[in-house]
């Protein structure tokens, strides 16, 4: 079946511009996560959506970052007024349930480069 799909796969933007990254989770998965991976580093948690509950935004690095999940499915991560330190791979994952022991399934990420 189809896995987690992210678009675009690559995005180059100028400093100060806004960007939107899209994630289509696996159908039927109620939980959706955004992580960020800087070059050669591990994964940094950003935000977590579980069903209709309020999202866990504790990992968002600044108020320039926001995310929404419409209809319990597709999610968009928005970065406003991008900075060079925002350059990273942004990974989306989904799971059947929340952090309850069902593995996360990751997309291939969006590589964001801020020039």
């Amino acid at each position: 079946g189809a896995g987690v799909s992210q678009s675009p796969s690559n995005k180059v933007t100028e400093k100060g511009k806004d960007v939107e990254l899209r994630c289509d989770p696996i159908s039927g998965h109620t939980a959706l996560y955004w992580y960020r991976q800087s070059l050669g580093q591990g994964l940094e948690f950003l935000i977590y959506f579980q069903g209709n509950s309020a999202p866990d935004k504790s990992g968002l690095p600044s108020d320039r970052f926001s995310a929404e999940r419409t209809g319990g499915s597709v999610s968009t991560l928005t970065i406003q007024r991008t900075q060079q330190e925002d350059s990273a791979v942004y990974l989306c994952a989904s799971s059947l349930e929340g952090f309850s022991g069902s593995p996360l399934h990751f997309g291939n990420g969006t590589r964001l480069t801020v020039t």
Binding site: Y33, G40, Q41, F99, S100, G101, L104, H105
Partner: protein
């Protein structure tokens, strides 16, 4: 298990040999652990998981060992193949508290022909 540093630990093994990748986790309250494999240009892929009520779990060519006393997790890969070359991450969480999954730094495994 927090991600730190710019340089990944590396491990090189000969094709056909067994490899062991180690991970020290940080939270003594963590009760669920996962190993992920990440190939270049792709997202992490689930390999195997283990809950804290177990100390060993086996999959196909892979075994995860958990030592809660010293907060240590290891991934053993038997009879390594070139396709095993990747970065391997351990991740931890506390299911009771529904805590977010925290990833370790990662280890780059290279299989030499």
């Amino acid at each position: 298990g927090e991600s730190v540093g710019l340089h990944l630990p590396t491990l090189s093994v000969q094709e056909g040999d067994n490899s062991i990748i180690n991970c020290a986790y940080s939270n003594s309250a963590s009760d669920y652990f996962i190993w992920y494999k990440q190939e270049s240009g792709k997202g992490p892929q689930f390999i195997i998981d283990i809950r804290s009520n177990m100390d060993k779990r086996q999959g196909q060519r892979v075994t995860v060992l958990l030592n809660k006393t010293v907060k240590h997790l290891s991934l053993q890969i038997a009879a390594t193949q070139p396709g095993d070359s990747a970065v391997y991450f351990c991740a931890e969480t506390n299911l009771q508290g529904a805590q977010k999954l925290v990833f370790g730094q990662g280890t780059r495994l290279t299989i030499n022909p």
